[in-house]
Amino acid sequence: MLVTDTERLRGRDVADVVRAAVDGGVDVVQVREKSLAHGALVALATRVREAIAGRAMLFVNGDVEAAIEAGADGVHLPASGPAVAAVRARVGDALVISRAVHSIDAAVGAERDSADMLVLGTVFPSPSHPGAQTIGLDGVREVCVRVAIPVIAIGGITPANARDIMRAGAAGVAVIGSIMDADDPRAAAEALRIAIAAPVGQADIPSGTARPGA
């Protein structure tokens, strides 16, 4: 999942960055812009949807009506945002509901309230969430064993740590900086895609296990 941050565009068009990221394998784009008036958010999300051209899912952060009006696939609810149950009552099955969670209790509660997926953070220190308390791989493992719905991990995810995240039980990763700050968003997305899709291999076997011939 790519979470957009227009402050990190560095003069590029958000539509171009999204297109490149989707070319590289991003399959969910979350439009997150808290400073925009409602109509402007709909316009932005619509432009992003057109750039995606059906090759990935579009989520809008926070504004359910904007998600509906922009023709998004889902709405992502921040931890401090509207309650999942209320949004579900509003949209029924028309939108996928994703919820940001930072704890086991929040995760369990969101699942009970019919969230379709969770974005769990902040896993590792992240410039996008300065000062946030991090939960590390243990935090990811603890939540993933408690809920059945997909858990996407966010917070300082890079190709170097993405595979560990998947092994901890996450269904996917969400990034801002790893793609937005890259000079080549497509390549950055590809690197992440490769990292999370890599099959478990020799290097993943815990080091304490006896090996033949040792």
Binding site: T6, L9, G11, D13, V14, E33, A37, L44, R47, G62
Partner: protein
Amino acid sequence: MSDTLTIAGRQFRSRLFLGTGKYAGPEQTVAALDASGTELVTVAIRRLDLDNPNARTELDYIDWSRYTVLPNTAGCKTVDEALFTARLGRSVTGSNWVKLEVIPDPKYLLPDPIGTLRAAEQLLSEGFVVLPYIHADPILAKHLEEAGCATVMPLGSAIGSGQGILTLDEIKIIIENAKVPVVVDAGIGAPSDAALAMEIGADAVLINTAVAKAADPPGMAAAMRKGVEAGREAYLAGRIPAKPYASASSPTEGVAAASREKAPA
């Protein structure tokens, strides 16, 4: 003969630009824009009503394909806020046009001349087409023009005040020296104000409150349209100068001689 206005390569037949804030509701906005014949509307893209974050704004109602939609940096008090909002506006509209406002003062809503120049220079270097809102300062207007702005937009009087063109002399000086279009923006209250701006040679006017808060916004929009057209046609037709003495409309010489010739026998 075509009297189109060209701004940054784009042509406009209407010299009336409208802001889209402060309307009572969407139907009024749409009807007023329609009645005005405008081809360019400004929109605030920032969330300004924090208590009601999902409130519908004018952006939800206007037909984006019908107008040049010009995002403005309304609500921005500093250079950094204006830069951020301008960049956001580019993401939202896909266009690099921006109406730049840097307004730190909430009482008079006066634009910060230095902040505006700094923000304009930065945005121009990022490839924006910048239309800056300023007090009617001829030197500032020149700096912004030389920096590369597409227009200058001097105020007639304070935003929303309806006081009309209080800066007439300064605007005349700006018009005299400008090589880019001059758009009089802010303070227009009635069509006579809009006509006056056009009569002295402004290239266009930008009006918001005078239409949005009129008792009948679409009616006022139609009237403003006529005011702008009348003022522009008068400018092109070349008005007479104002003189401090009378100049009779009919000749008085020769009348006495003719009446003497016709004296009854």
